[in-house]
């Protein structure tokens, strides 16, 4: 399924080197990322945190090949994204990256099952039946597969999105506030599953969040402020995260 298996000796699944992202021009330009260098390790669950407007989403978009950086490099499993064409980036996203967004994750015209298989369909590859079945079962979606998104609850929709993100066994799964629209219990289910996918399947997950409790599911928290790296926390708990955030003034 992979275009190329990541080399064993490369520890980081994805890393940014001197990454700069400027929106707009002249007086109204915004420096959303200001010389960020960070490395996110393979097989780890990393959370990115920071005050609103600190550049979390921007960083994630650049790491995932959804947006191009103004300068600097992004390395994803040994591939330098800044050198890829739009078409190569598209194929890379399709095969090596998975996404979970805060909302609007699913195609309204497709059923849950079709949504889960969409990346494979787009690539024209056959699904690995066992893998799909185990995902569906673990996520508790077995009896919801024929439904369309409008007929699913917010939590179910998010779980479908997680299944879709994992179905290609990507190098990295990126999640931008995946629990932002969910109540705490449903959110906990989704987070728990993301953590299990890291522990049990060796998946790499990068998640942007505001919520210290959500961040505590991660192995490591990277803090951003004003587009710059502002520290990190290993093995976070809600309390350590909360106090770090307070220091940043969020």
């Amino acid at each position: 399924m992979h275009a190329a298996a990541p080399p064993v000796n490369v520890q980081s699944a994805v890393s940014a080197v001197n990454l700069v992202k400027v929106y707009g021009q002249g007086a109204t330009s915004v420096r959303a990322l200001d010389n960020v260098t960070v490395s996110l390790e393979a097989g780890q669950f990393t959370a990115i945190m920071g005050p609103s407007g600190s550049g979390k989403s921007t960083l994630m978009h650049c790491l995932a090949g959804l947006d191009s950086a103004t300068s600097g490099d992004v390395l994803l499993g040994g591939t330098n994204l800044t050198e890829l064409s739009d078409k190569q980036l598209t194929v890379l996203r399709r095969e090596r990256v998975g996404f979970v967004f805060q909302s609007f994750n699913l195609m309204p015209t497709l059923t849950a099952r079709q949504n889960i298989l969409l990346p494979l369909d787009l690539a024209g590859t056959r699904p690995d039946r066992q893998w799909v079945d185990s995902l569906v079962e673990v996520l508790g979606l077995a009896d919801r597969l024929a439904h369309r998104p409008a007929e699913l609850s917010g939590g179910q929709q998010q779980r479908v999105a997680v299944a879709r993100a994992l179905v290609t066994r990507p190098d990295v799964v990126f999640a931008d506030e995946p629990t932002g629209n969910l109540d705490s219990r449903t959110g906990a289910e989704v987070l728990d599953f993301l953590r299990r996918s890291v522990r049990e399947f060796g998946q790499t997950v990068v998640m942007v969040t505001h919520d210290p409790v959500a961040a505590s599911y991660a192995d490591r928290v990277v803090l951003l402020a004003d587009g710059r790296l502002a520290g990190e926390i290993q093995q976070p708990t809600p309390d350590t995260v909360l106090s770090a955030m307070r220091e940043l003034g969020a």
Binding site: S57, H61, L66, D67, D86, K87, T90, V91, R93, R94, E95, F99, F101, Q102, S103, F104, N105, M107, P108, T109, L110, L118, P119, D121, L122, A123, G124, P149, A150, R164, D176, E177, G180
Partner: protein, 830 residues
């Protein structure tokens, strides 16, 4: 509220472009039609009126029997300042360089210089009997110059050589006048010195009414006396009958274009309002009344209607000016030389465009008022409602389709043509209305079916395209409806024309079995050179010679009759039906009715003819009426015994298929052109004429309908680009998940293609149905029930191909926009 609405129009102006463009095109069409018609009528009145500009009263006789004496009597009457007769006569003209001669009308120059109206562009008016002036358009057509010599043959077969001394300016001749000559010459060429009209100028201060009464009393009962104005009005009314028919025709097509534009605008509003559901709901949340929402939408449509209609009128005026420039000088100056706008020609299209736009917005506006304030609070996903066609709509559509269809079928069965026409048009309209009403069910079904058939080529983008195309059945139906109208009408015209053509051909075959006959007059022989040249003419499928000889009668040796002989087998292959040869074989004579009467012959009777060797040959008589065949025909074998020295006098020919009949005829004319004892006959010219008329009609109708189709395609592109805007997040999501730009383009192209294909398939089916029933209704009586229906496959495929390619092209711009959206947009949480 109003400020908000204007801001909304400004904010969404780009989204109104396509809807507005549709209205502009429709209104421009109506304006052009009205302006050209109006200018043509005005030009006609001017051209016709020129003749009467200097007269106060006109004495006219339909019998062309006003004598010079009568003119002198009128001149002598009290209150008459001047009076002159207007002579009009017909002559045959041979133009140098063109084959044959044509029958044209000559008008005389009034004797009294004060009443002359003809004005020359070049040269001068004729002064001597051997001088003529020609109409400018004829001079151009036939390449005539000052000094060109023409040969005229009068009704009494007298031949005159005349010289062109002037070219008459367009607009100073009535439509049917080609030549102008002196009064003396014109009356001399006619069959007596008589006038059609006498122009009368009253003396200064004379009482016109009294003079008119006195003139009426003086000239007699059958002759009318009119004021110059009355005369012009009457003549123009007679002439413009044709223009009015043309006008109805043009305006009918303009109406269709405007109707299609209305569909496009309705579609635009429906989509725009659907996109603004949350905006409208928010308005309702903050306290806007339903009426205010309705009013704001309607006001938007008024602004759009005013702007688009004004543009349309301006564009139409420009087009009309161009058309007038192109038509100038055609048809003897009857075509306008300048645009003559009148208030109605500008106001009517404007009002029509505005009304159509506002009417189109009514239903969407009403739907907008039903948006509940809660919609503003619902998550985005719920906004993509899947509207289902109501049961009532489906039932009503079915009733209309079945009812209209039944009326239509009944119309094709009746032999009363007026009833049939009414039933045909009524039934057709009602059933088509039913189809449009049922489109939200029919079109998605057709899309699904076509999608199923083509699923293999489409892949995932194809599947997505199908589900996109059917997710909002109303919108898809509305998009397809515009194209459906166009395709239905064009295929209706195509099938109708092909069927009329075939019916006509078959009926021509029945009545005119012989395409071409070239015969030497009086049974003389056709020269070998001529025969060889004729046989070699390109485009002839075959020729059969007929020999002619003089044969003596046994019963009355003093009488001789001209007998033609032909090989029955060869002739049977050549004729389009065996009628005129009536089973010719040895021992049978085909005799025309005149000859039969002359010799007292009866059907089935025997006729004894003297052979060359002095013997006797008895033939059975079969009477056949056919104008193109000689009056006595026997088999070639019999003729050899009756007149062994008989020479080839006639050549029959059949034109091959497919052939350019006109070109073949011209080539045949070229061969026989200089021989004056040879004449060409047969039904081919008639066939060619009918074909040409049909082709021209079809071309014009297709051209006019093309405007409607272009508008419909603007609509397809419009729907697609609006739905691209609506589905920005969806597309960005797909892009984030790995849909390439090419696949996204393919998806949109496939969606456009599906919608176009649904419209094409339905349109072709309907067009064929309507074309057939329409032809049947029209021709049933004339063709004595023998209507031949035809499906011109290649032309229909062309129609389908053009519509599909155009549908595909309509997806290009929306797709360009769609691929520019960065995939990161899907992540935004608004």
């Amino acid at each position: 509220m109003r400020r908000m609405m204007l801001a909304s129009i400004r904010g969404h102006a780009a989204r109104y472009v396509a809807g507005g463009l549709a209205v502009v095109l429709g209104v421009a069409f109506v304006t052009t039609a009205l302006l050209v018609l109006n200018s043509t009528k005005a030009a006609m009145a001017e051209a016709v009126g020129a003749q009467y500009a200097r007269a106060d009263l006109v004495v006219a006789s339909n019998q062309n029997d006003l004598t010079p004496d009568a003119v002198r009597r009128i001149q002598g009457m009290e209150g008459v300042a001047a009076a002159s007769g207007v002579a009009v006569t017909g002559v045959e003209v041979h133009y140098p360089g063109s084959p044959g001669s044509v029958w044209v009308q000559v008008s005389g120059i009034p004797l009294d210089p004060d009443l002359r109206w003809q004005r020359v562009k070049d040269g001068r008016l004729p002064e001597k009997p051997d001088e003529v002036a020609v109409a400018a358009s004829t001079a151009k057509d036939k390449n005539l110059r000052l000094g060109t010599r023409l040969t005229l043959t009068t009704g009494q077969s007298r031949v005159h050589d005349v010289r062109v001394v002037g070219i008459v300016r367009g607009g100073t001749l009535a439509q049917d006048i080609t030549l102008v000559a002196t009064d003396q010459a014109t009356t001399a060429w006619g069959d007596g010195a008589t006038y059609l009209e006498v122009l009368v100028r009253a003396a200064d201060g004379a009482d016109l009414a009294a003079l008119r009464t006195r003139l009426s009393a003086a000239v007699g009962a059958d002759i009318t006396v009119q004021t110059a104005n009355e005369r012009v009005t009457e003549l123009v009314a007679g002439l413009t009958g044709g223009v009015d028919v043309l006008g109805a025709f043009l305006l009918g097509f303009a109406g269709i274009a405007l109707f299609v534009a209305t569909l496009v605008v309705a579609n635009t509003f429906t989509i725009l309002l659907a996109q603004r559901t949350r905006e409208l709901a928010l308005l309702r949340c903050v306290g806007a009344r339903r009426g205010q929402v309705f009013g704001s939408v309607l006001l938007e449509s008024v602004v759009l209607g005013v702007a688009a209609s004004a543009l349309g009128v301006a564009a139409g005026a420009g087009l009309a000016a161009l058309a007038v420039r192109l038509l100038e000088g055609q048809a003897n100056g009857l075509m306008p030389s300048s645009l003559m706008p009148s208030t109605p020609t500008l106001v009517v299209p404007f009002v029509a465009g505005l009304t159509a736009t506002v009417a189109a917005a009514l239903a969407p506006a009403r739907r907008a008022t039903r948006v509940s304030p809660l919609a503003a609070l619902r998550p985005e996903m719920a906004v993509t409602v899947r509207s289902r066609a109501g049961v009532v709509r489906v039932v009503l559509a079915l009733v209309l389709v079945l009812g209209g269809g039944a009326i239509l079928v009944a119309g094709t069965r009746t032999s009363a043509i007026m009833v049939g026409l009414a039933a045909g048009i009524g039934g057709g309209l009602v059933s088509f209305l039913g189809v449009l009403l049922g489109a939200p069910v029919l079109v998605p079904a057709a899309v699904r079916l076509i999608g199923l058939l083509s699923a293999r080529v489409g892949g995932v983008p194809g599947r997505l395209a199908v589900s996109n195309a059917v997710r909002n059945p109303r919108r898809t139906a509305a998009t397809a409806a515009a194209l459906l109208v166009g395709v239905t009408l064009i295929s209706l015209m195509t099938v109708g024309a092909a069927s009329v053509q075939r019916t006509l051909h078959e009926s021509l075959d029945r009545s005119y079995p012989l395409d071409l006959t070239v015969s030497a007059e009086g049974g003389e022989r056709l020269a070998d050179r001529t025969l060889a040249a004729l046989r070699g003419v390109d485009g002839l499928a075959g020729t059969v010679p007929l020999r002619a000889g003089q044969v003596a009668l046994v019963d009355d040796p003093s009488m001789r009759v001209q007998v033609h002989g032909v090989d029955p087998a060869a002739a049977a292959k050549l004729l389009r039906n065996p009628g005129p040869l009536g089973g010719l074989r040895d021992g049978l004579a085909i005799v025309g009715p005149v000859t039969a009467a002359q010799f007292g012959l009866e059907e089935g009777g025997s006729w004894r003819l003297r052979t060359s060797s002095g013997g006797e040959l008895t033939v059975r008589v079969r009477m056949v009426r056919d104008e193109d065949t000689p009056s006595v025909i026997v088999s070639a074998g019999d003729l050899a015994r009756l007149a062994p020295k008989a020479q080839i006098a006639v050549l029959w020919a059949r034109i091959g298929e497919p052939a350019d009949t006109k070109a073949v005829l011209e080539r045949v004319q070229q061969v026989v052109g200089d021989l004056d004892n040879v004449s060409v006959g047969g039904a081919a010219p008639m066939r060619a004429m009918y074909d040409q008329i049909l082709d021209v009609l079809l071309l014009i109708a297709t051209g006019l309908l093309a405007v409607a189709v272009v508008i419909a395609l603007v609509g397809v592109g419009n729907t697609l680009s609006l739905s691209v805007i609506e589905r920005t997040r969806e597309q960005a999501l797909l892009r984030a998940l790995g849909l390439t730009r090419g696949q996204l383009r393919g998806m949109l192209a496939f969606e456009a293609l599906l919608i176009a294909a649904a419209a094409v398939v339905l349109g072709l089916l309907l067009g064929i149905g309507y074309g057939w029933s329409g032809t049947t209704v029209l021709l049933r009586t004339a063709a004595e029930g023998q209507v031949a229906l035809d499906i011109p496959v290649s032309r229909l495929l062309l129609v389908a191909g053009v519509a599909l390619v155009a549908g595909l092209a309509a997806s290009v711009l929306p797709a360009r926009r769609a691929v520019r959206v960065p995939p990161a947009a899907a992540l935004g949480d608004e």
